[in-house]
Amino acid sequence: MSPIAFWGAVRQGIPRPFLPATAAALVLTVFNLVGTSPAMAHCFAGSRFFPAMLTTDDPCVADELSLPTISGFKTGDIPANRELDISAEFSKRITEDFGVSIGRTYTRLWVPGGPNASGWQNLETTFKYQFLTWPQSEFVLSAGVSVEWGRTGNASVGAEKFHTITPMLWVGKGMGDLPSSFGALRAFAATGQVGYAIPSWRRTVTITSIDFDTGEVDFDEERHPHFLQYGGSIQFSMPYLKANVIDLGLPDVFNRMVPLVEASFRTPVANTIQMANTWDENNRTIGTVNPGIIYVADKFQIGAEAIIPINRASGKGIGWVAQLHFFLDDIFPTTVGRPIIPISARLGP
């Protein structure tokens, strides 16, 4: 999945992406019927394949579809709400190195003692440029910007009325260039991402009451902080181990697994309010640590992770997330799975 999921997710504990499913299916059907020509890969750097992840984003530009990503968890509110998110994300290469992702999430909230709510989160798009790929070092570096479009979701499930723009960096590094004496350690890889989220509104002021005799007006002010968003993964690639380090003769199902731990965090850094003894998510670092496993098939992958909040403001108890992810460059290599403009301006050998 992508970082799109990350922010709304971390706010209440989890990820979310994408487009209405039927629209995606229609688009894919149309692309499936027309067009021809070659395609490159999903996230490869030399021998290293970085799988798409569930909580953070892989460092590459690719043609892929996460449909669906489903997560269940309890929010950081007191008392905690129970939340179910169903999301999808479509990523499309415009050129070999530049791509766009569109994500959307449908949320169902169960509020203790209150009315339940359901609706769409804001539409999110990410523009990413994979400007450095170093195959021999299994190194990838990308930069881009993620935009959450205000007023495109339902306020009842927490969708904001303002936009949030987040310049981001993504990095991936495989350990395959270590000396062969390091053995199975060469199958490890790490990914990371960092962004700075800037809301388009500094604050929201809501009038709570007006005294018509005195003319006094009471109002609430909610500040919208800037956030530093960061996260990443540590992963052990069984496919890499088998093909590049040592073939242990394990059954194929094990050779396709990538155990990993993802983590994602958000820290307010500007336009904050100093408040003591508060659980407010806007005044402290929140995040989750998500251990899980991804099974990588030839043209799709399936992943599942536990969601462990780092503190009470990040959520209550352990949640879960699962995802079905399709490699469109393999499924539709001559149509939707290839760049619209097949040119490359990538750095590296």
Binding site: A21, A41, P68
Partner: protein, 118 residues
């Protein structure tokens, strides 16, 4: 829930599309096996890929610990199988570097070692 039904429908469409497409050519197995120690020097290296590969755009190099070429001649490709003739191998470590183009034009690459130890 409607949203779940829509997701399932779109997912079903994609799943039905999977059978018709080729994927990246991944190394499924090799002989000598990846990372293995063999007592008898092989005369041919065999690479089995998950997809068919294009002979004209696929290369395999075998080198010894000193970096000298140990392969003898061009690889022979038969669908998903690539056969690489080898020179007589002395005891020691060998490195295999391969790069192949699958029939649907995806390029993949990898490397591994094996050791001849009588």
């Amino acid at each position: 829930m409607k949203i779940i039904r829509k997701n399932l429908l779109a997912g079903a469409f994609l799943l039905t599309s999977l059978a018709a497409a080729d994927a990246h050519a991944q190394l499924e197995s090799a002989n000598p096996r990846v990372g293995s120690i063999v007592s008898a020097a092989p005369s041919v290296l065999t690479l089995n890929f998950s997809e068919g590969v294009e002979p004209a755009f696929s290369t395999v190099q075998v080198t010894d610990a000193a970096g000298r070429r140990a392969d003898a001649g061009k690889p022979r490709v038969n669908g998903r199988v690539v056969l690489v003739p080898l020179r007589p191998l002395a005891p020691g470590q060998y490195t295999v570097r391969w790069r192949v183009l699958s029939v649907d034009t995806h390029t993949t690459e990898g490397s591994f070692g094996f050791e001849v130890r009588p």
